[in-house]
Symmetry: C3
Subunit: 205 residues, 3 copies
Amino acid sequence: MMLLIFYLIAITAEAMTAALAAGRRDMDWVGVCVIACITALGGGSVRDVLLGHYPLVWVAHPEYLWMTAGAALFTAFTARMMRHLHKLFLALDALGLVTFTVLGCQIGIDMGLPVTIILLSGMLTGCAGGVLRDILCNDIPLLFRKEMYASVSMVTGGLYMAAIHYELPELASMLVPMGIGLVLRFLALRFNWQMPQFVYRDDWK
Amino acid sequence: MMLLIFYLIAITAEAMTAALAAGRRDMDWVGVCVIACITALGGGSVRDVLLGHYPLVWVAHPEYLWMTAGAALFTAFTARMMRHLHKLFLALDALGLVTFTVLGCQIGIDMGLPVTIILLSGMLTGCAGGVLRDILCNDIPLLFRKEMYASVSMVTGGLYMAAIHYELPELASMLVPMGIGLVLRFLALRFNWQMPQFVYRDDWK
Amino acid sequence: MMLLIFYLIAITAEAMTAALAAGRRDMDWVGVCVIACITALGGGSVRDVLLGHYPLVWVAHPEYLWMTAGAALFTAFTARMMRHLHKLFLALDALGLVTFTVLGCQIGIDMGLPVTIILLSGMLTGCAGGVLRDILCNDIPLLFRKEMYASVSMVTGGLYMAAIHYELPELASMLVPMGIGLVLRFLALRFNWQMPQFVYRDDWK
């Protein structure tokens, strides 16, 4: 199953970028592993807890925990080299975003949920891990302030559901939305596209 | 059902105040919508996840998500006007607090939980959304430092349960505690009532 | 059941240290109680929500909530005295860590989970409460930056599972790993042992 391979690549890539974020905060090895696992697997966990979809992925597949923790420690040991792979990480991260989104939508469809919730299931899977990482690193989540991350996830999920609805062949209904999502994300990164901000200042609280 | 109307007013009001909080942090439109949904619907979600009460409200009623996100975007577009409605928002927010509390207690009663947990169910529904908002905005939750918010919720919930226990008519058993809670909250705001603080300084750790 | 006594001592001690942490942030009495309950009972709650193990401990035993809130308020009133009990708190906290770990592992074993998840169940029970406390106090969780906390929990859990596997007598299989964990923790505190840190700085992102 191609989607599984993409998924494994994606959680590994997420774990590695999370490890670098932990390193920026001088965390110890335990912290690096924990942040990596939460970033890579946390999005799916938030989705499953909110939808009551048990058992969680990593309870059924504990090997994913070892994989992410291992990838994180490997990153910590070879951090100097990682510095040159910035663009590769961004590409893998984008692949992860669209893969997670499609997987999350599939779970929502399997559970027979309403359309809005299927879309949200995809977005939670794609984006919530990064939000948890930012909370644990004591940042305002990047998702809420920059980049087209959530929008790309929404477009990918919407196209995927349209493809399912019009009964496209299974492979095309996954790959076409993922491809469009990837292109969107790369364009957003290349041209620094951003959602408009809402800036508000007042005197009262 | 009058309580449903109060509920819809309350989640709309919560979404609008949350949007203003997001605007103070320069979030983009996605962030504004996410913060609004989490603040308006997060309290009930935390309660449902902790009590194992599935499906969550917004999974069963996805239209609430659109309503809160819509109210948040509307607020972002008309923020200049909102500046003059400060007092109205505080009143709606107080209405939300007592409505959420009574609804949370009802769910605890329906599930046949112990008295302490029913009270807590009401408080979680009333207060947890604001705590999540503050965590996502990278603040120490206001709830823990100021205002009589949690206390008003506790008093409202306690009175509601007493009214149920003494078998008051259904309408009175909801409206009287909610009214007393509202008055308490307004008095707390008017006279700047606060719970005593615990200030502690030490050298170790 | 000796483990129950240790557990009650441990949640009381956790509540008291959490109350002091809340006092350092000038929280009011409500905040002190909430932080205490979350720190003492939050680790087990995170575990139960992630594993789908309902009802949560404090829903089944609401008296634990009153106990932790009571201990926290008592601490706030006698804070001056607490200043001299620093070492006692550290000892009780270490007792809590190993007790929570063993209890968490037992729940994982009862649920028939894979070995990795049993170990994780113990670590979550032992460590997640402190992480939640730090997030609510708006700190980068201490766990990720210092001390051998998570490592002690992992060693204790691993030894406990080895003892179960080799069918040691029940009492010994709990007490020996807990004793070794305690000694490790005291040595780590005494000699200021730390996990190696991963420090990473870059220009991009």
